[in-house]
Each structure stands twice: as structure tokens, then as C-alpha cells.
């Protein structure tokens, strides 16, 4: 029987941290153009991330290609530098979470909670994504060329999520800012309890969530959608519906600390 993702090999310390003494495997090959490539097949989650960090932070490489990620969880998380990362395959849960700056291309699908808390940068997913995609995202662009699961952009606080396929239920649940462009159909409870932000939908909407209402289309919307789709080569925009917060539930007037400074 083939070995199973090294589960038995992994050690944990008293706090539950996986492989506390792991070191970067240093298996990457850097070619003449400065592109580093390494095979993740035999590595564990932690050693893949250590190798990625070594290349980006210590070697100063600006472009990394990761082969055979094999749907492993938590890959490419916490990368806080401008760089280009290509995953030649699918990622598991929590892929590219808490990133600030990188331009990531995932040539496969992602599991649940991809790009959660993303601060800036670009993530393009060639296939489908699981639920909670772009959860609590604060900035940057997240493009999913397939379909997404439920609660995409839950608690979204900024940035743009573009979905070319269909989306599940409760998209933009408790969304607070930012934009979503969903070119396919969406499930029930769209924009449930959203505080602010905008959701554009190309297909049918099964039902709207609490306090989510159709918004008034403006020139700025046309310009924004066309520009975003042009950047990612997604063609000209179809006819879209716009949804915003009805502000019936809206009882908050406190500002985030950064905004408070601007006002004062």
C-alpha cells in the first residue's frame, strides 16, 4: 500500500505545532530567468511552506512554481511580499490564506476557506472552489474560473471576488465592504445581513437574504465590471444585476480606527 501523505512521519510539539524542527528541504532549482521550481510530492505541508518562504525571503526569488501540491491544506499561507507563485495543481483547505502582495495562479481547484483574510495581491483559480472562499478578505482580487461553494466572501471587508461559474447559498453573508462579480447563478440567501459592499450577479438569483436589495446601476458600475473582466481576460461583461445593503438592519455608525483618523 502506498504511503499516505506522511501522516505517520509528522511530529507535533507540546502546543500542537506540526514538525517543530522541520527545515526547508532546499530542493528548488532556480533557472536562468530567476524562476524557482520545486516538487512538493514527497514533502509535508510544513516543509513545502518552509521551502516557499526560504525562496521568497532568503533567496530573494520573485517567481516560484510548485509542482504536485496534491490538494494539501494550508499551502502558500502568510506570504507578505510581492512575488509570483504558481501551483501546478489543486490546493486543499485554507490555501493562500492571510497573504499580502503575491500574485498567485492555482492551476486546479481550492478547498474550503481559500484566501481567507487576504490583504492584497491577486489569486486566480483555474477550476472550482469550496465554501467560504475569500472569507474576511480585506483587499486584492480573487478570481475563480469555475464554481464556488457556499458563503463566498463571508465577512468580506474589501477587495473583489470574481466567479465565472455558479455560487452556492448565502454569498456575501455579513459582507462589510468590497465587491463580488458572480457571472453564473447564485443560490438562496444572497447577501444575507450584509452591511455594505456590492454584489453583481449575471445569472439567476434563487432568493435574496435579509436586508439585501437590488441597487441602482451607475456608470461607475459599468466601468468597474468591464475593467475587472478585461484585466483577467474574461471577455465582455454580460447583463448584470446589482445588489446592495438595504440598511434596514443598519444600526452601526462607529468607524474602524483607520477611518476615524481620517475623519478627525
Amino acid at each position: 500500500m502506498a504511503a499516505v501523505v506522511g501522516e505517520r512521519k509528522i511530529t507535533y510539539d507540546a502546543r500542537g505545532l506540526a514538525e517543530p524542527f522541520a527545515e526547508a528541504p532546499r530542493t528548488a532549482v532556480i533557472d536562468a530567468d530567476g524562476v524557482a521550481t520545486f516538487d512538493a510530492k514527497e514533502l509535508t505541508t510544513r516543509t513545502i511552506n518552509l521551502e516557499l518562504r526560504r525562496l521568497l525571503y532568503e533567496e530573494g526569488v520573485k517567481e516560484v512554481v510548485v509542482l504536485n501540491p496534491q490538494a494539501r491544506h494550508s499551502l502558500g499561507v502568510g506570504i507578505l511580499t510581492r512575488c509570483k507563485i504558481t501551483f501546478e495543481g489543486s490546493l486543499g483547505y485554507f490555501g493562500c490564506g492571510v497573504i499580502d502582495g503575491p500574485e498567485v495562479h492555482i492551476k486546479g481547484r481550492v478547498g474550503w476557506s481559500a484566501c481567507e483574510n487576504m490583504m492584497s495581491g491577486v489569486v486566480v483559480v483555474d477550476s472550482n472552489a469550496g465554501s467560504l472562499t475569500g472569507a474576511a478578505m480585506r483587499g486584492g482580487d480573487l478570481v475563480v474560473k469555475g464554481r464556488v461553494g457556499s458563503r463566498t466572501g463571508i465577512d468580506q471587508k474589501g477587495g473583489t471576488i470574481i466567479v465565472c461559474g455558479d455560487a452556492g447559498l448565502m454569498n456575501g453573508f455579513m459582507m462589510q465592504r468590497g465587491r463580488q462579480i458572480i457571472l453564473g447563478n447564485v443560490g438562496p440567501g444572497l447577501g444575507d445581513s450584509m452591511y455594505d459592499g456590492t454584489i453583481y450577479v449575471g445569472g439567476t438569483v434563487k432568493s435574496l437574504g435579509i436586508d439585501c436589495v437590488p441597487g441602482e446601476w451607475t456608470e461607475a458600475d459599468t466601468e468597474f465590471v468591464a475593467r475587472k473582466l478585461l484585466i483577467y481576460g474574461l471577455g465582455s461583461p454580460p447583463e448584470l444585476q446589482k445588489f446592495v445593503c438595504g440598511k434596514v438592519l443598519y444600526n452601526y455608525d462607529s468607524l474602524e480606527p483607520s477611518e476615524r483618523k481620517l475623519v478627525i
Binding site: 500500500m1 502506498a2 499516505v4 501523505v5 501522516e7 505517520r8 496534491q70 490538494a71 494539501r72 491544506h73 495543481g89 489543486s90 486543499g92 483547505y93 492551476k107 486546479g108 481547484r109 478547498g111 474550503w112 477550476s127 472550482n128 469550496g130 465554501s131 469555475g146 464554481r147 461553494g149 457556499s150 452556492g168 447559498l169 443560490g187 438562496p188
Partner: protein
């Protein structure tokens, strides 16, 4: 949390599903290290019935009487089966407390199961022409080695790794659950059911038996009840979406079908891979990837979806 997985081959031929399920479940060990269970559909040689039963649980006290009691109860099971008119082919001892018996029998299966379970601590884990449920504490590889699943070939199967949230860590609380008294029906579940006691009381009044306090057992018993009223597997699963409360994703299997159902909040994960050759489903894609050495196209079913495949 729990992890569930399933695989069904469309050609109806035997494949090494014992090994394949083990690889899938072991890769999801992080979702539940408490116990691991399999419901596998084999191809029995003599065309008779197969029963898996246990005579003690993992938490049964290992007192001085323990071994003697197991011996006596095992003989008692064989005697009772013989008295019912069942012709035993073989009785295999998988562990000191878990057994597999192959036999021929034409009578009422409920009566047979009841008579076996009347022996103290005895539980029929599965009963049918091809269904075999294997479950024990520990991760997939240890259960696989303990029960010799390496040479188990079959047409389809499901599995479960458990993180106990609703009941004790023991074999009775481990999945899959057999849909007593229905031959060849089993269920694995990831989630929590909130109207457990309502359904338990109601089904007990209808004569169904419960062997554990695990909420997931309700699903198996519920489906058995619906199917005994004439509904198909798919119809029963659709109905369960309205009648069972809570968050759940479950997989139900019968002799020739495998179905999945997802609750209306889509709160529990499921990834699906479909090809001309087979259908593989799991809580995480990493499990499905244990079967393939290449990139595959997978997707998550949406809320309130019921999907059933025939072998």
C-alpha cells in the same frame, strides 16, 4: 468534525476497495482520530449471507471473566443461528471480540438479528448478502491491519473517521451504522442532528432498536423505516432533508447504489469526483487524491442536494 468518504465503481466488478478506503480515510486522520469504520460491499463466494457482530465493546471491562464470557457467547451465537435453521459455512475471529460469519438462511432477518442481540453485549454490526461493516477504535491503518482488509475486494464502499462529539468513544458509537433490520444498507454521517430525541422516541415506538447514543444512528434507522414503507433510497434521502434537523452531510449505501445528501445550510463539506469508471466522494479532496496520481476535476455539491449513483 468527522471525515466521510465513499467510492463506487460503475462496472460492478470487484476492486481493492479495502486498501483504497484505507488510503482515503488515513489521509483524513486529522478530521477524526477516535475511531475508523468501513462499510464494504464484497462479492461473497457462496452467495449466502454475511454477518459481522461483536461480543464486547472497546470500553467493556476486561475482568477475569472476560475471555470465558466471550467464548461462551460465541458458542451461544452459533447455537442460536443453528437453532434458527441457518447453515453456517465459517466463523472467522477478526479480533477477540469481533467476528464474521458466513451462512445460508431463508427466514426473517429481523428475528435473526434480535435473537443474536439478545445475548449480553452482542451487537450485529452488519447483515446482508454483500455488506460488511468493520469498525474499531484507532486510525484507518490500524483498523485495516487488525481486520485484514488488505485483500478485501468489492464493488463499492464507504468509510468514516470519527471525532466524537455526541456520544462515547467506543465501537457502538463508531460509524458506519447498519440500517437494522434491513440487509445491505449502511450510513456514515458528518455533522450533528438536533432533533435526535424526537426521532429516537418516535422510531423506538415503531419497533426500531438503537445500540448507541450517537445521533448518526438515527439516519440509518430513519432510512430503514422509510424504505420499509416502500420508498426508494433516493426518495427517503430527499424526505430526510426536511425531517432531520441540524447540520449534516451523509452517505448512504445499498447493495447496488451509493447516495449522498447535504443539509440546507451546506455546513459540512463534501467533494465529489465523477468519471466513467467510478465516483469518489470525501470530506476533503486530499482523500480522493489518494486514488489518483494526477490532477482531477472535482466540485462541491450545493445545499439540499441528493445524489445517487448505481453500480
Amino acid at each position: 468534525m468527522c471525515g466521510i468518504a465513499g467510492i463506487i465503481y460503475r462496472d460492478g466488478a470487484a476492486h481493492p476497495i479495502g486498501d483504497e478506503m484505507t488510503r482515503m480515510l488515513q489521509s483524513m486522520k486529522h478530521r477524526g482520530p477516535d475511531s475508523t469504520g468501513y462499510a464494504l460491499y464484497g462479492t461473497p463466494a457462496n452467495g449466502g449471507l454475511v454477518m459481522r457482530f461483536k461480543l464486547a465493546d472497546a470500553n467493556t471491562p476486561r475482568d477475569f471473566e472476560y475471555e470465558g464470557r466471550l467464548r461462551r457467547h460465541r458458542v451461544e451465537v452459533e447455537n442460536r443461528l443453528g437453532a434458527l435453521g441457518a447453515r453456517l459455512h465459517e466463523v472467522e475471529e477478526e479480533t477477540p471480540y469481533a467476528f464474521r460469519v458466513a451462512f445460508d438462511y431463508d427466514g426473517d432477518l429481523k428475528l435473526l438479528a434480535d435473537i443474536v442481540e439478545n445475548i449480553p453485549d452482542a451487537e450485529v454490526l452488519s447483515l446482508g448478502t454483500s455488506l460488511e461493516i468493520v469498525k474499531d477504535l484507532g486510525d484507518a491503518e490500524s483498523v485495516h491491519d487488525q481486520y485484514g482488509l488488505a485483500d478485501f475486494n468489492g464493488t463499492h464502499g464507504i468509510g468514516h473517521v470519527r471525532m466524537a462529539t455526541e456520544s462515547e468513544v467506543d465501537i457502538a458509537g463508531a460509524h458506519p451504522y447498519w440500517a437494522y433490520p434491513y440487509s445491505d444498507v449502511a450510513v456514515v454521517h458528518n455533522g450533528q442532528l438536533t432533533n435526535y430525541f424526537y426521532w429516537r422516541r418516535r422510531l423506538e415506538r415503531e419497533g426500531r432498536r438503537f445500540m448507541s447514543e450517537c445521533d448518526s444512528e438515527i439516519i440509518a434507522v430513519y432510512l430503514a423505516q422509510e424504505m420499509s414503507n416502500g420508498a426508494t433510497l433516493e426518495e427517503s434521502m430527499h424526505k430526510s432533508l426536511d425531517e432531520l434537523d441540524g447540520v449534516f452531510t451523509y452517505i448512504a449505501v445499498t447493495k447496488d447504489a451509493l447516495g449522498v445528501a447535504k443539509d440546507e445550510l451546506a455546513a459540512k463539506p463534501l467533494v465529489l469526483y465523477e468519471s466513467d469508471e467510478l465516483v469518489a466522494i470525501a470530506s476533503e479532496e486530499i482523500a480522493i487524491r489518494q486514488l489518483f496520481d494526477r490532477e482531477i476535476e472535482t466540485y462541491d455539491p450545493y445545499e439540499r442536494e441528493v445524489l445517487v449513483w448505481q453500480r
